[in-house]
C-alpha cells in the first residue's frame, strides 16, 4: 500500500526566485510530484507535523531545505526532523543552500542530512544540480513516516 502513495516534496526556501528556479528544473527533470513550498520555518514545520495532508499523517515525503531562513535556522529544522523521537526521522532531507562552508556542511551531515547541495551561482551548474537531484528523486525509495 505505502509504495503506491506518491511522495510529496516539501520545499522550505525563503527566496521566491530560488524556489521558482528549483521547481522549474525539477519539472524539467521529469518529476511531477507535488511540491509544497514554504517561505519560512514555522509554517513548514506546522505543515510537516500537523497538516491534514502533511507527511506525518499522509504518506512519504522528501524535504528540500534552505539553511538561511528568516524566522529560524535551517539547521534547527534539520535537527528537529532528525531527532530520535521525531516521526519524520527517516524522511530524506536534501539541504540546498548557498553556504559552502566545510564546517556547516559537516554539521548538517552530523545532524543527519541525507544530501547537501550548494547552490552554484553559475546557472548551468545550478540547473544541472537540480536536474540530477530530480533524477535521483525518481529512483530513490522513500520510507513512510512512523505513525505518530
Amino acid at each position: 500500500m505505502p509504495d503506491q502513495q506518491p511522495v510529496n516534496i516539501v520545499m522550505i526556501e525563503d527566496d521566491q526566485g530560488h524556489a521558482r528556479l528549483i521547481e522549474k528544473n525539477i519539472r524539467r527533470a521529469g518529476i511531477s510530484n507535488k511540491i509544497h513550498h514554504f517561505l519560512d520555518g514555522t509554517s513548514a514545520l506546522e505543515f510537516l507535523y500537523d497538516a491534514a495532508d502533511g507527511p506525518v499523517r499522509n504518506g512519504p515525503a522528501l524535504v528540500l531545505l534552505d539553511l538561511n531562513l528568516p524566522d529560524m535556522s535551517g539547521t534547527d529544522i534539520l535537527a528537529k526532523l532528525k531527532a530520535d523521537s521525531s516521526p519524520l526521522r527517516r524522511t530524506p532531507v536534501v539541504v540546498l543552500t548557498t553556504t559552502d562552508d566545510k564546517v556547516e556542511i559537516q554539521r548538517c551531515y552530523d545532524l543527519g542530512c541525507n544530501v547537501y547541495i550548494t547552490k552554484p551561482v553559475n546557472y548551468e551548474s545550478f540547473a544541472d544540480a537540480i536536474r540530477q537531484l530530480g533524477l535521483f528523486l525518481s529512483v530513490i525509495q522513500v520510507p513512510d513516516p512512523d505513525p505518530a
Binding site: 526566485g17 548557498t98 562552508d101 551561482v121
Partner: protein
Amino acid sequence: MEAPRLSSLGRDSRASRLIISLLVLGFAALLLAAAVAFYVQRQNETDAAQVAHTLAVEASLGGYASAMERMETARRGLILTQNPAFATIMDEAEKRSRAQLASLAALIADNPEQRARVAELQGHLDVYGRHYRRTLGLRGADRDTLLAGFATDRGVIEVRASRAIVEAMLADELALLREREARQKRTQMWFYATLLTAGLLIILVAAATLLLIRRTLVDLRSSRAELHRLNENLEEVVDARTGELKRANAEIQRFAYIVSHDLRSPLVNVMGFTAELETARQSITSYLAKGEADGWQAPDATTRLAIEEDLPESIGFIRTSTQKMDRLINAILNLSRQGRRTLAPERLDLAALVQGIVATLQHRIDETGTDVVVGDLPLIVNDRLAVEQILSNLIENALKYLQPGRPGVITVAGGTDLGRAFVAVTDNGRGIEPRDHDRVFDLFRRSGVQDQQGEGIGLAHARALAYRLGGTIELQSELGVGSTFRLVLPIEWRSGEEHA
C-alpha cells in the same frame, strides 16, 4: 599612571647624586685627616730633632762651662800652691774647653747670634790662655802683685765674661726650647682639632649616607611594588583590549561572511532568470524560424533586431557582470573564511616549501623562459598552509608581471634579522609605481596596465595572512626595473600570539 613613576625616578637620581657627593666629601675628609697626620708627624719629628739639638747645645755649653771653671780652678791652685800637677790639669782642661767650644761651634752653626757669642767665647778663651801662660812663670814680687790684684786679674775677668756669655747662651737656648715646645704643643693641638673635625665629618657623612641609602631603598621597594602593580594592571588592560579587538575582528569576519552570503542569494536569481530569459529568447527565435518556414507573417525588422541582437547583448552583459560579482563575493568569502581558519604552527623548512611552490609553477616558468633561483632560506615555526599561500602568491605575481621582452629572473633569498626571519622575492619584472606601493595591498586594487587576469585580491589576502602570522610584507619597487617583496615572520610563532 606616568607622573608618579617619573617623580620617583627624579628623586632617585637626586638622592644618588647626593649620596655620591657625600661619599666624596667623606673620602676627602679621610684624605685630609691622613694628610694632616702625616704633616703633624713630620712636624713632630722636626720639633723633636730641634729639641734634641737644643738639649745637645745646652749639654755642650754645660761641658764647656765646667771645663772652663776647671781651668780657672787649676790656674788658681797653681798660683796658690805652685804645684806643677795643676799645670797638667790646666793643660787638660784647656784642651777639653777648646774641644767643647769646637763642638759647640759646630752645633750652633745655624744660629748667627750664638755663633757670634761662640766667637766671643773663643776670643775670651784665647785671651785667657795667653794671660795664663804669661803669668805661669811669675815668681816673687810679680806673683805678689798678681795675688794682690787678683780681684781685677785678667783671667778672672775673662772667666767672668765667659760665664756671662755662657749664661746668655743658655738663656737663649732655653727660650728656643720653650718656643719649640710651645710650637710642638700648638701643632699637636691642630692635629687633634683636625682629627676630631675629620672624624666628626666622617661620622656625619656616614650617617647621612646611610640615611639616604635607606630612604632610597625604601623608595626602590615601593616603586618596585608600584611597577609590579602597574605591570599586572597593564596585562589586564592588554587582555581587555585584546578581547575587544578579537570581538571586533570576529564581528567583521562574521559581517563579511553574512554579507557575502546574502549577496550571493539574489545573484543566484539574477543568473538563473537571465538563463531562463536566454532559454525563452531561444524558443522565440526558433518559433520565428519555424513561422517563416510555414509561410507565417514574419515580425518586422525592429522586433527581429531586438530578439536577435539586443536581447543576447543585454543578457551577455548581465552574465559577465554577475559572474564578476560572484568572483568578488567569493573572494570576500574566502578571505573571511581564511580569517576564521585555525592556524597550526609547525616546523617549516622554507627552502623545501619554496621548491615545492616552484615545482607547481614549473609549467609557467618554462613557458615564459624565466630563471628562478632559490637561495638559502631559514627554518621557522608557523602555519604551513598560510605561509605557502603567501609565498606562492608572491612568486606567482613575480611570474605574472614580468617585463615583456626581457627574460625573467626571480630570486628567492632569505635569512634572519633581529630575531625575525625574512624571505625576499625579487624579480626583474615591470615594477610598481611609487604611488601604488600601498595601494597594491588593498582589496580589489591593482596597479599598472590591466593586461593580466585577476581581481586584486592576492596581495590583500597575503598581507592579511602575514599580519595574522605575526609578520609583515614590505615592498620595494622601481617602475620598469623590478620589485622585491619581503615577507618578515617571527622565527617561532605560537598561535597564542595571534592578533585576532
